[in-house]
Amino acid sequence: MIPESSLKFSCIQGVVIPRYLDARDYPWLRLLIDEYMRFVDAPKFELLRHLKSPLPFISPTGKRLLAMHILNGLFRAEAKSKIPPKKLRAMLFEAAAVSSEIRESIVSSTARSLALQDGELETLLFCDLPNEKRIKKPEIELNPSFVALYANSLLIQSFLARALSVTIQLEGNARIVVRQAKLRGLICELSKVPNQTYATLTISGPYVLFRRTLLYGRALGELLPQLAWCNRFRLKARCIIGERESLLEVSSGDPVFPAKTPKQFDSKVEEKFSKRFLKAAKGWDLIREPKAIESDDTLIFPDFLIRERSNPNNEWLLEIVGFWIPDYLRKKMVQLRKVKLQNFILCVDATLNCSDTEIPKDAHLVRFNKNIDPESIIKIIEQNSNNDSRKECSNVRN
């Protein structure tokens, strides 16, 4: 996170407009990257000292500091030594403490005992210390647009670290964001507006806590890269900037650096089912992680939506259940019934039943062992769909 004094933005009628790095900044960003590249293999302290002096190009201070923050993280430093430098130090300095010889002969005799050259010993002596480590070339090819995107994300995260509350409207892949919010221990609430396709995640910001903890702010900021993988999102955060409350708005299309590509499927079972279903039922679309369904105070995220291509109104939701007990399934069915959702298929792993009691009889239930048979899903859809779609489905299969 960057300090408030380094946050660059303008404020219009209480709405914060971050000063993102854009294409105008690419020329000096290129030069800045080149300055870093010049110090590859040099000790880190030399780079740090160089960066404190005026650089040979003109650039906006706030944006440059932001970019340098990113580049400092990307240009990591490493130590290379066949003998641990700690051992070298111990041997050389202990020898010097007891010897009355001149410096050069102490260095020389210690180096010989370690099978090193004189100069080599002195080079390796502190090579493991953070500022003496050698700058390493980043593994990825750096270009100005990459650095700018990374820096812009950090800018948004730094605003979020000063938030009172954050509201995010999520559409598609929402489950990842919700899961990450929970994993990071954020104080959040998920809800859904009737007749809307998006779910709303409301998160308390660090500034409403007893103290404005940095850790919570950082955890909140870490959610941002996950949003990039949603089909659509809109984030609104009430932030305290300079003792004043301001509104920050970020939405799909804004410069957010995406997190690591999320796995397309949660499990092998899902992956195999997807492939086999698309092969078996060519007249149907299989959409992963569709809209969330609200039932009482719970939101259900089905794994798949099965939609008939010729009749888009014929939709079925499908959820694959891992470990289960009949009571869990019964509760799930109650929830579904409350929202009057009939077209819902539950697939349960026969080997992961954790209880002997009977499962609910009125559920559209498919038991599977290792793999889900697409035929059994199609059979349920056929039995319960109207005549037209049943006919269409048979055609597709034939």
Binding site: F93, L129, E132
Partner: protein
């Protein structure tokens, strides 16, 4: 608690960092909070740890009490008012050994002087107009100002360069070499203004550095060897100032430092552990006609009134 350990016991010893991190979870489990080196609080983010604790009884300990008003007010709120104080003279004899302080003034050579004067001139060109325009501003305001334009950054860079020149010029190097030769049989602590100088001295004189970069395990080994006499000299920037149990030393050489009175007292205190018949020696190296003279006067004046005058 700290360094990966998270055991809670009726008496729990906790690092500042762990205290800051976990006080929200453990702050209601204790009745008495003892804060060693309490001068580190009252001025920053760590105060959150004290605010998150519900301990009704609190005791703060320090050898260098903070005099800044805002910090004192904050400490009074989070810990309590000062209830007991001892001066150095009261500690002398029983708890501290006597010492002699020698200030050695040295000169820059011609090349260093030319560089230093040019750097200071560049700095003044930016600083003087700023100080006239903003008479109530402080050093931090000036640093912020320097980051906003090219000339400012140039001035700041010149300031840094001037500091680098006086941190360890040739004359200090020669003086230090002769002092180390003179006290070859004594345990010596060398204090530098920055870590770069500490490494420079370490390489030049083959003495072990103790800096924040050296990991804890190695530091402990080094201090143990210093205690046993396997190592005779250590060089450090700020790490030895406080927080470590430094074995007894007989000689301290202060090559430079500009962190004021508190740092100075802490450094000198490192060789004042009382041993029968011992008299410690402290050398200060100061470069004539440079900003270092001002730093030296400031810290020595305070030492005069607080330590030497009473001894």
């Amino acid at each position: 608690m700290g360094d990966g350990k998270r055991n809670i016991a009726p008496i729990t010893v906790c690092t500042f960092e762990s205290g800051y991190r976990y006080m929200s979870q453990i702050g209601n489990q204790f009745k008495l909070l003892v804060i060693d080196e309490v001068h580190h609080f009252g001025n920053g983010i760590r105060d959150e740890a004290l605010e998150m604790s519900t301990c009704p009884f609190r005791l703060g300990l320090t050898a260098t009490n903070v005099t800044k008003d805002t910090v004192q007010v904050k400490l009074r709120d989070t810990v309590g008012a000062t209830i007991y104080e001892l001066t150095v003279s009261e500690l002398k004899g029983k708890y501290l050994s006597p010492f002699e302080l020698f200030t050695i003034q040295v000169d820059l050579n011609l090349k260093e002087r030319k560089n230093y004067d040019a750097s200071i001139e560049t700095f003044r060109k930016a600083y003087l107009p700023f100080a006239q325009l903003h008479p109530d501003s402080d050093w931090i305001d000036f640093i912020r100002y320097t980051q906003k334009n090219y000339e400012g950054r140039q001035a700041y860079s010149a300031w840094q360069n001037a500091k680098r020149i006086i941190s360890f010029p040739q004359a200090k190097e020669t003086t230090l070499a002769s002092l180390l030769a003179q006290h070859r049989e004594n345990k010596v602590l060398i204090f530098t203004p920055d870590t770069a100088t500490a490494y420079k001295i370490s390489k030049k004189h083959l003495v072990m550095p103790i800096t924040s970069d050296i990991k804890r395990g190695e530091r402990e080994e080094v201090l143990s060897k210093f205690r046993d006499g396997k190592l005779k000299t250590l060089v450090s920037c700020r790490v030895l100032n406080e927080g470590l149990d430094v074995p007894d030393a007989e000689v301290a050489v202060i090559v430079g430092g500009n962190h004021g009175e508190r740092e100075h007292i802490q450094r000198i205190g490192r060789c004042l552990r009382p041993v029968l018949g011992k008299s410690a020696i402290v050398y200060e190296l100061v470069v004539r006609d440079t900003m270092e003279v001002r730093h030296w006067k400031r810290r020595t004046q305070s030492l005069d009134t607080r330590v030497i005058a009473q001894i």
